[in-house]
């Protein structure tokens, strides 16, 4: 008798586990009833084959009905949301505007973070790229741009850098065109 009770409680635990496939709302409403009916059906079986049949029917039912219940819940929630939105149009418009602002600003921040911090630079082996700046020997905090002649000297003598490029945001006058031509040819 104790063994029978034990196996029945084990079967019930297993069946309850499968009921987890249902939406929580359905489970709370009908879970206990489903378990009662399932146990009744198991008790009326006289053979292992009959018990197996009950299990097969129960599992087939769960696998067919649980997705339908999820879908019904989604439809129910959607219908409710649309009804509420139609009832108070001003609040709906304000909510949509706030959502649009929120999504827009989040997208902007992510685009900036992605472009500046996350996405690698569009060059081969970007981890080998370095920026060269000049520091004043008198004051290490005073840093500035590399002058063009210094850049050409660095390019000619450096053993650390494989190559050196120069860019600037302003028009500059250059002197020493012969050196410039050599620099451009070598880069």
């Amino acid at each position: 008798m104790a063994a029978a009770r034990l196996s029945e409680s084990g079967i019930l635990r297993l069946y309850r586990g499968f009921l987890a496939l249902y939406p929580a709302e359905f489970r709370e409403e009908y879970g206990r009833e489903l378990c009662l009916v399932f146990v009744d059906r198991c008790r009326e079986q006289r053979s292992p084959a009959g018990l197996l049949m009950v299990w097969l029917e129960a599992l087939t039912g769960i696998f067919f009905e649980a997705p339908k219940e999820h879908w019904n819940m989604i439809l129910h929630d959607l219908r409710y949301a649309i009804r509420i939105m139609r009832k108070d149009a001003a609040v709906t418009v304000a909510a949509i505007a706030i959502l649009a602002l929120g999504i827009g600003s989040t997208t902007l921040v992510f685009s900036l973070a992605n472009g500046l911090l996350l996405r690698p630079l569009p060059y081969a082996q970007p981890e080998r790229l370095v920026a060269v700046e000049e520091y004043s020997p008198k004051d290490p905090n005073e840093k500035g741009l590399v002058s063009f002649p210094n850049a050409m000297d660095l390019s000619a003598r450096t053993q650390l850098l494989e190559n050196l490029g120069v860019y600037g945001g302003e028009w500059r006058s250059c002197t020493g065109m012969a050196r410039l031509s050599r620099f451009l040819e070598s880069n």
Binding site: E29, Y30, E33, V37, F38, A58, G61, I62, E65, E69
Partner: protein, 112 residues
């Protein structure tokens, strides 16, 4: 002809509740016995249908159990509402008409 609005399982449940109020297991047993085992509802199919029928107002849950002395107090009893009776009668009428059409075309045995 108005298209049928009740599924086969739903109609069976309404028929099971036509003569008396029943709990879930009793509904399943009644259907099984009445159809000689041809229609067997699983607990999941039964309660999904019960949920829909309750939402549609075709059946209702009883406040009190009909026979509290001889059953499990955890069980819920359901009974057929007036709307449920009308829906079941309309469905039966449609099936009767369909059977009559089939009979007149030789697809079903003539009434003796």
């Amino acid at each position: 002809m108005r298209p049928s609005t009740l599924s086969r399982d739903t109609f069976h449940i309404l028929v099971a509740l036509a003569d008396q109020d029943r709990h879930g297991y009793s509904i399943m047993q009644e259907i099984k016995e009445r159809t000689s085992g041809a229609v067997r509802l699983s607990p999941s199919t039964l309660y999904s249908a019960v949920k829909r029928l309750l939402e549609q107002g075709l059946i209702a849950e009883l406040e009190e159990r009909p026979d509290p002395e001889h059953d499990d107090e955890r069980r819920r009893y359901y009974h057929l509402t007036a709307a449920g009776k009308r829906a079941a009668m309309a469905e039966a009428g449609q099936l009767e008409k369909l059977l009559s059409d089939a009979r007149s075309r030789g697809l079903a045995p003539k009434r003796s």
